[in-house]
Amino acid sequence: MRPLAVLFRREVSLAWGRGGGPLLAVGFLIAAVTLFPLALGPAPGPLAAVAAGVAFVVLALATLLTLERLFERDFEDGALDLLALGVPPLEAVCAVKVLASWLVVGAPLALAAPVAAIALGEPLAAAPMIFVTTLLAGLAFAFVGGAGAALSLASRRGGALLAVIVLPLIIPPVIFGGAAIGAFAGGLEWRTGLALLAAYALAAAALTPFAMAAACRNALG
């Protein structure tokens, strides 16, 4: 476990700088959310209806932006060789990298998402629910996006390829999370949506490290 703890600390410190780190991701979220009232008009009705959904979609895009270089830098500078030749298996290395990224970027985004949704007209009472769902969805986005980042390693134009690989896979958490927030705000049964979202996030956390490790080995070989 000790080498993985060492790796986690390094990844956290690298994630502060990668792609601008948490400040840039949160800034992107706020800037993108600001576009919606400008595009849809300032009337509160239509904005409030889409507030939670907008927060979710923008969260997904912000996560994708920060994940693009998750493996690429280590691949380019040779550090991925070092990580592949360590005692812990490469699957654990990939999972640790994603978890560190989630902690540094996903968690601040989950804190910013309720603020963005409320600014668009979501009721204040929904804030805790938005925080929990965006935190879980951020975990799912991070693992699925990490798999996409690993798969697009050896190709040029990794960014666009990453989006094409990953966007279809993040549809389920967007649906479950949006449904849970909508149900919660409307006073309906919300536990099902939240449970499905949590299940998806955990399944992604359990399965994608194998895909990431296989893709990294393929890129190295």
């Binding site: 080498p3 700088g17 830098r73 500078d77 040779g78 060789d81 030749l85 360590g86």
Partner: protein
């Protein structure tokens, strides 16, 4: 502890082109093997195949010792390639301590390695400000900071100055005297007694 590495009838292919085939060689404890050959002959690919990063097209790589090949590779070898694996924005100290701890070494050993390689004054510089030779010294420091039996070195001497080469010959001799194994791709002759393996001739 790896007792020996044997290459049996090894063939390596890159991008549809056969780099070499029918390669047979062995290295035991206390021995060094210098892999020579023209540019593009497959020296780097051979080292990566031994490290397990690249699957050979044919033949076998056998690790003899108490561990199986997977265990021997994970935690049993160091690969120092052309790329030093250093993050430009981090300081030499941060990178050295990470590489040492990741490899199973400890901080005093890492700092002692930095001192031996003459890097003590550079430890607080960002690695992007180091020269090529200093970066190589920093990468080589993990050989000392996290002891492992098999060293796979890809042109280890090329960016080093004369003093660095003398130092490296001492480090290599010590490693071999302690029962280590070295396989190095080299154009310049290594400063220790080696057997030569010519590929791509």
């Amino acid at each position: 502890m790896i007792a020996s590495v044997r290459l049996e009838d090894l063939a390596v292919e890159r991008g549809g082109r056969m780099l070499f085939q029918g390669l047979t060689a062995a290295v035991g404890t206390g021995e060094a093997l210098a892999v020579t050959g023209p540019n593009g002959a497959g020296k780097t690919s051979l080292l990566r195949a031994i490290a397990g990063l690249l699957a050979p097209a044919a033949g076998r790589i056998v690790f003899e010792g108490p561990e199986d090949a997977g265990e021997a590779r994970r935690g049993g070898l160091h690969l120092i390639g052309h790329q030093d694996g250093l993050k430009g924005a981090r300081t030499a100290r941060e990178e050295l301590l990470f590489q040492a701890r990741w490899g199973g070494g400890n901080d005093p050993a890492a700092l002692a390695a930095a001192e031996r390689l003459g890097l003590t004054r550079q430890l607080d510089l960002a690695t992007r400000r180091l020269s090529a030779g200093q970066k190589r010294r920093l990468a080589l420091a993990r050989l000392l900071a996290a002891p492992r039996p098999l060293w796979l070195l890809d042109e280890p001497l090329s960016p080093l100055d004369a003093a660095g080469r003398v130092l490296m010959s001492e480090i290599l001799s010590q490693h071999l005297a302690g029962g280590g194994l070295v396989i190095a791709a080299a154009h310049d002759p290594l400063p220790v007694a080696t057997r030569r393996l010519e590929i791509g001739a």
